[in-house]
């Protein structure tokens, strides 16, 4: 992808921040699964701006999305789970990310550690707190809940043992059509069992080999995408009865351009320094088609990708019933 020269549209400066910062995922007019990993924290230019400078991205939706997460967690406790052997890696994730945020946002955040005593300041939440690494009771709700109240990303921790990755802890409130509560405890191949095409294309086993070879401290990222109806972050299997029905009506809805969103996950893969666990962060960005269409190159690429996508992939992404309507609208502009 580094071979593709992306030129920022000269009019892009006039676009709102939500468009300029959007991680538009398509480099060409077609899309297939690939192990599209690249080193993290490298600024990625798009036709409308850029993204990806920081490991933890904080944007205009910060407080609103954290409030949304708190509501989901209050309703459904199965969205967070830490198997007992994962406690040290949760602390490892927390100390790694708070320290990274303090480095990236020095105007609003600071982090100090002396032995196991840590002090965290988050000016966006008027929060000053002291806690002790390893003492779960020193943070409200424990370290996993607390980390989930500081970053917009969903958090997944994979244990490394028996040459395999195991999904043994996480806090996932904004899942794209999967159930964290069901998948906890599964290994990497089991988690990806329902994905079509990946078996024969060996992508999953290759990805696992790659992740197993990462050394502590290394950070990579990739993107994934789907379509979501409404600005709805929680499209988990748990709430499917609430959002599933929209799939049958959106194609004929005159408000489709405002309602239908391109959902892009920026996924970070971080091998944690002390536990050696693999931290998998999933940050979800939503942008309606009406905003996509304001960037001519995006409108065209996305229109072609949706038109060309093979049926089995469209079926798995849950977009088969309305992708043609979306593509037609984008390409007719």
């Amino acid at each position: 992808m580094s071979s593709t020269i992306i030129e920022t549209d000269p009019d892009a400066a006039l676009l709102p921040e939500r468009i300029r910062r959007f991680p538009f995922p398509f480099a060409s007019d077609t899309y297939r699964y690939s192990a599209n990993v690249e080193p993290a924290t490298k600024t990625a230019p798009t036709e409308a701006g850029s993204w990806g400078t920081h490991l933890v991205d904080i944007d205009e939706h910060y407080l609103e999305e954290l409030a949304e997460r708190a509501k989901v967690l209050d309703r459904d406790a199965s969205r967070v789970n830490v198997l007992p052997h994962m406690r040290p890696s949760v602390w490892d994730a927390l100390t790694t990310l708070l320290s990274s945020m303090a480095d990236d946002y020095p105007d609003t955040m600071s982090y100090h550690r002396e032995g196991n005593t840590c002090r965290w300041h988050n000016g966006l939440q008027n929060l000053d707190i002291e806690f002790t690494v390893g003492d779960d009771s020193s943070l409200p709700g424990g370290p996993m809940r607390f980390l989930g109240s500081q970053i917009q990303d969903d958090i997944i921790l994979l244990d490394v043992r028996e040459d395999t990755l195991w999904l043994d802890a996480g806090l996932v409130t904004f899942a794209a059509d999967w159930s964290f509560g069901f998948d906890v405890g599964m290994n990497f191949m089991e988690i990806h069992h329902p994905v079509p095409r990946v078996k024969e294309e060996r992508i999953i086993s290759r990805a696992q080999q790659f992740l197993l070879r990462l050394q502590p401290g290394e950070q990579f990222r990739r993107t994934n995408w789907t379509l979501t109806i409404g600005r709805r972050l929680d499209t988990s299997t748990e709430t499917y009865p609430e959002w599933g029905p929209d799939r049958s009506t959106i194609a004929d809805d005159p408000a489709m351009p405002e309602k239908l969103h391109l959902r892009v996950e920026v996924q970070h893969l971080v091998r944690l320094p002390h536990s050696g666990a693999l931290l998998f962060l999933v940050r979800t960005h939503l942008l309606p088609l009406s905003d996509i269409a304001r960037v001519p190159a995006w409108r065209e690429k996305m229109g072609h990708v949706l038109a060309e996508l093979p049926d089995d992939m469209a079926e798995y992404k849950g977009i088969i019933r309305y992708r043609k309507a979306a593509s037609d609208w984008l390409l007719a502009r």
């Binding site: 069901f182 069992h193 748990e238 029905p245």
Partner: protein, 160 residues
């Protein structure tokens, strides 16, 4: 080497420090068809079903065993998966456990909408969740930890 006929210790009936093969069967299976224990001492257990009580007894058996032990589980899939989950919790590794699953038998289906698990005896493509009455489509996505298949609302996308 100790023989399987050594008088059992008090409690779970397994002598402390056992490192042979533990064969556990569930249901109506007469005896566990263990291929060959290669002359290793063998300890047999039979239960009607994997209830909370029998799983607790298994836990105590694993507690008196030592590294080197192997486990064979035979019977209906739901029972042996529940037992396998206890074995994993007690520190047995996948390669140390053999599952001899009966081809037929009920399966568990997990409902992510109400978080309950339904015993499905029909083995069809759909089952009614006994927790929330939603008709669930049964996927082949399987969790060894839960011993269950994932279900999801089968008709959510149909116009109301």
């Amino acid at each position: 080497m100790r023989s399987a006929s050594t008088p059992p210790a008090a409690g779970n009936g397994l002598e402390p420090g056992f490192r042979g093969v533990i064969c556990v069967s569930f249901g109506s299976t007469g005896d566990t068809a263990v291929p060959d224990t290669d002359g290793q001492p063998r300890y047999d257990l039979h239960f009607e079903a994997a209830t909370a009580d029998t799983l607790l007894e298994l836990k105590s058996v694993f507690g008196s065993s030592r590294v080197g032990v192997r486990l064979v589980l035979a019977g209906p899939p739901t029972d042996i998966r529940a037992a396998a989950a206890v074995a994993a919790d007690c520190g047995l590794l996948g390669e140390e456990v053999t599952l001899l699953s009966q081809e037929t038998g009920p399966r568990f289906v997990y409902c992510p909408h109400c978080l309950s698990t339904t015993v499905d005896v029909t083995a069809g493509t759909e089952v009614t969740c006994h927790g929330c009455s939603t008709i669930l489509a049964v996927t082949d996505h399987f969790s060894r930890r839960r011993g269950a298949y994932l279900g999801y609302s089968a008709h959510a996308e149909e116009a109301a």
